[in-house]
Symmetry: C2
Subunit: 442 residues, 2 copies
C-alpha cells in the first residue's frame, strides 16, 4: 500500500519525492486514498514538516489535481492579495477594485468565514443578488473585460487541496506552515498570477498570533512563489485589534464603500494602500510605492475605484445601486450602543471575542453548512490607547432581536478593557518580507 509507506517515511523524518506527491494527491482527489491515511500523514507533517522541495511538489500536485484560470493571453499583469484572515479585515473589497481600476488584473478567489474570522465571499453576498459561484469561463471573460472577478474556489480548482483543507480542519492539522503555504499557493497559482501580495496578520486575533510563525509562513510562501516564477511580497500587519471599525458582513461592505469613496478609517486605508502599492509595483504600472500611492489616491478621489466596484457588482448579478445607497444591504432590526463603564484608557479591543460575538449573533458559520445572517455585527469606534470617560459610546451592536443585542453586549464586555494605562498596540504594519529578506516597516 503506497500511502502507508509514505506515512511511515514522513513519520520517521524522511522525504517524499515529487513523483510520489503527484501520485498520492491525484489518487486522493480521485478518492482512491482514504481520508484516514491522509489525516495520519497530515499529523506526521505537522510534527516533522516538509522541506522546500517537498512543499513545492505538494503545491504542484494539488494545483494539477484540477483546472486553472487561463489568463496567459492577457497583456495585463495579474496580481492578487491573500490575507491569513482577521476580524474586520475587509481589505479585499477595497483593494481589488482599486488595483483593477489602475490597470492590473486581480483574479481574486476567496474563501468563506469559518471560526472567528470572516470570509470575503460572505461579505460580498450581503450585496443583494451578488453571485460568487462563477464558472471559470465566465470569470475569465469578466477579468478580460473588467480586470477583476471576485469568486469562490470552484470545484474545478485544486480539488485535492479542497478535500485536504476540510480534513485538516477536522483533525487539528491546520497549523502547519508548509501545509498552509501549499494550500494557499496551489489556489493562487491556479489563478494564473504573475505576482502575489500576502498580508500575514499577527497578534491575538490572528490565525498565527506569533511573529516568528508569521515570518516563517512569509518565507515559505516567498520560496514557493520563487520556485514557480511568481514573486511574492509579504507585509506583516496587526490583528491585536479589529481592522477598521465595522465587523460583520453588511457593515463591512458599507465601510468598504465608504473607503472607496474616500471616507475609510485611517488604519484600513493605510493597510489597503500599503498592499496596493506592492501590487501596482509588482504589476509594473507604478514606478515605486510612492508613485503607486499617489495613483491610488487619485483613483479614489476621482471615483474611478468606486465605479470599478460598481461594474464588478453589476457583472456578478449584484445590485449596483448599493454603491450610492448602502441601505439597500440587509439591515439589522435592532441596534444598541455599548458605553464605557468607567473613565480610563482603552487597553484592549480583543478581536477574537468580537469574532466569536459575530458568530453568536448568527453572522458567521460554526459549520460549513450553516447559513449566515449578513445584517448583524459590530461597529467598534474605540481604538486601543483612546482616553474615554464613563458613559461615552465605544461601539454599537447590530442584531436581529433583543437576545442578539444581549449576546453582542456580552461579547463587547469580553473584548473591550478600560484601564488606568495601556501598553502600546502592535504597529499597524511591522515588517515587509521579500526574497531579499525581512525589513522593518518605517
Amino acid at each position: 500500500m503506497l500511502a502507508r509507506a509514505l506515512i511511515e517515511r514522513k513519520r520517521d523524518g524522511g522525504r517524499i519525492t515529487p513523483a510520489e506527491w503527484r501520485s498520492l494527491m491525484s489518487r486522493y482527489a480521485a478518492d482512491e486514498v482514504p481520508d484516514y491515511q491522509m489525516a495520519a500523514l497530515a499529523m506526521a507533517i505537522y510534527f516533522n514538516g516538509l522541506d522546500r522541495a517537498e512543499t513545492v511538489a505538494l503545491t504542484d500536485a494539488m494545483l494539477h489535481s484540477g483546472a486553472m484560470l487561463d489568463l496567459e493571453h492577457l497583456t495585463m499583469a495579474r496580481v492578487d492579495k491573500h490575507s491569513t484572515g482577521g476580524v474586520g479585515d475587509k481589505v479585499s473589497l477595497v483593494l481589488a477594485p482599486l488595483v483593477a481600476s489602475l490597470g492590473v488584473a486581480v483574479p481574486m478567489m476567496s474563501g468563506r468565514g469559518l471560526g472567528h474570522t470572516g470570509g470575503t465571499l460572505d461579505k460580498l453576498e450581503s450585496i443583494p443578488g451578488f453571485r460568487t459561484d462563477l464558472t471559470l469561463a465566465r470569470a475569465t471573460e469578466q477579468i478580460e473585460r473588467l480586470g477583476c472577478a471576485l469568486i469562490g474556489q470552484t470545484r474545478e480548482i485544486a480539488p485535492a487541496d479542497r478535500r485536504l483543507y476540510a480534513l485538516r480542519d477536522a483533525t487539528a492539522t491546520v497549523e502547519s506552515i508548509p501545509l498552509i503555504a501549499a494550500s494557499i499557493m496551489s489556489k493562487k497559482l491556479a489563478e494564473g498570477l504573475t505576482a502575489l501580495v500576502l498580508d500575514v496578520k499577527r497578534g491575538s486575533g490572528a490565525f498565527l498570533p506569533d511573529l516568528d510563525r508569521g515570518l516563517a509562513l512569509a518565507r515559505t510562501m516567498i520560496e514557493l512563489g520563487a520556485d514557480h516564477g511568481c514573486p511574492v511580497v509579504t507585509l506583516l500587519t496587526a490583528m491585536d485589534r479589529p481592522l477598521g471599525r465595522a465587523c460583520g458582513n453588511t457593515l463591512e461592505v458599507e465601510e468598504s464603500i465608504m473607503a472607496l469613496r474616500g471616507d475609510g478609517p485611517p488604519d484600513l486605508m493605510a493597510v489597503t494602500y500599503a498592499l496596493g502599492a506592492e501590487m501596482l509595483v509588482l504589476g509594473g504600472v507604478a514606478a515605486n510605492r510612492d508613485d503607486a500611492r499617489r495613483r491610488m489616491e487619485v483613483a479614489i478621489s476621482s471615483g474611478k475605484a468606486a465605479a470599478k466596484f460598481q461594474q464588478i457588482i453589476e457583472a456578478q448579478g449584484g445590485d449596483p445601486r448599493v454603491l450610492d445607497d448602502p441601505s439597500l444591504l440587509p439591515q439589522a432590526a435592532e441596534c444598541e450602543l455599548y458605553l464605557a463603564v468607567q473613565d480610563g484608557v482603552v487597553a484592549q479591543v480583543e478581536p477574537r471575542a468580537i469574532g466569536r460575538g459575530i458568530t453568536a449573533l448568527g453572522g458567521q458559520r460554526t459549520k460549513v453548512e450553516d447559513g449566515v445572517d449578513h445584517s448583524v455585527g459590530f461597529v467598534v469606534t474605540a481604538r486601543p490607547g483612546d482616553v474615554v470617560r464613563a458613559g461615552e459610546p465605544l461601539a454599537t451592536v447590530f442584531a436581529r432581536d433583543r437576545d442578539g443585542i444581549a449576546l453582542g453586549l456580552a461579547a463587547l464586555r469580553e473584548s473591550l478593557r478600560i484601564a488606568e494605562e495601556a501598553d502600546p498596540p502592535l504597529p499597524l504594519i511591522s515588517h515587509r518580507v521579500t526574497e531579499a529578506g525581512v525589513e522593518l516597516w518605517e
Copy 2:
C-alpha cells in the same frame, strides 16, 4: 467537535482524561467518531505518547467497549501468555495444554498472522475441522470443563480495539508503545485473567527489534497490569533466528505435537518451560520455578499434556487423531532440501526472510481477507553458529508446486548466510521483567 479538541490537545502535548477516553472510544466503537480523526489522534500519540493514567484509561475504554469472558466463579487461577510475535513461534500450542493440564486455566485469545509473523489461529486451523470462532458462552463452558480454550478475538470483545488496530495498520501508527500495550491489555483483560505472562521478542525478526523498546513495552504492560490487579511477568527472548525448526502452519503443529510428546527442539522447550514456569507460579500451583519445571516435565513424559491438547482439539471440532498421526494435517505436494553452498559457520538465519518466504508460498496473509495454504513452509535445521560443509542440508522447503519450491529456495538463500566466522546470536532468554524491576536471565 469533541474529537477535534482532543486531537489538538494531544498534538500539543496535553493529556486526555479518563472520562474523555471513555466517551471517545465508545463513540468510536459506535461509528460516531470517523476514522480520519482517530488516525490523526493515533499519529499525535505516536509522537507525544500517553502517560500511565492515560494508557490505563484508554485500555479501560477499549475493554468496556465490548463484552468479557465471565470466569469470576472459577476457583482455578486464569493465566494467559502473550507473545509480540515471531517466525516459528509455536509456543502457545505447546504451552496452553501443558499449563492447563497442571490445573491453571488458560483462556487463550489469539490473532491471525499478518505481515511476516504467523498467527496461532492459522496454525490451529491446519488441524482438520478445528474451529476457533467459538461464542463466548461456549468458550466459557469449555474453560470450565477442560481448563482451556483456544479462540479468536470475537466481535463482542473490545470492538474499539479491533477497529483501532486495523486503522493503525493502515496509517503507520502501530509502533507506539502505549497503543500496543493498551491494545494487548484490553483483549487480555477481557479474558478475565488473574495474571499474564508476556513474551517480548527482540532481534531482527521481532516487531520491536530494539532491546530498549522491548523493555519499555514490558514496563508499560506491567504497569497496566498492576493498575488492573493483574500481575504481569515478562521475558525477553531472541527473535534474531526462528524459534524451533518448523516455520509454517502444518509444520509448526507437527513440531508442537512432537514437543508435547517430549521430542521438541531444545530452544522451543527452553522458552516454553520458562514461560510455563511463570504461569504456574503466578497461578499458584507451583511453589517456585524449579518446582514448576519438574511438574511440566512430568506432564509431558506422562502424556498428560498431549492428552489435554487432544481433548481441546476434540472439543473445538478438530480431528483428535492428529496427535497420533500428524500426516492427517494438510501435506505439501512438493518438498526439496536446501544445501550449504560452501564450508563455514552459519552466521545468520534471518527470520524476516523466512517469514516473507512463507507469505510468498501462500502460507500467510498480506491482506486480512486472503486465504492461507496451511501445508507450506520451511523446516530449518541449521542454527547460527553451526559448522557446516558444502552440500550439507540446512533446511527443507515445503510447497504446493515447483514454482513454490523456487520461491522457497530463494527465501532461504536470502535468510541463511555462511561465513568464516559468526558473531554469537542473542541469548535465547535475556531478561526477566517484573514489577520489582529488570533482572538478567541466568
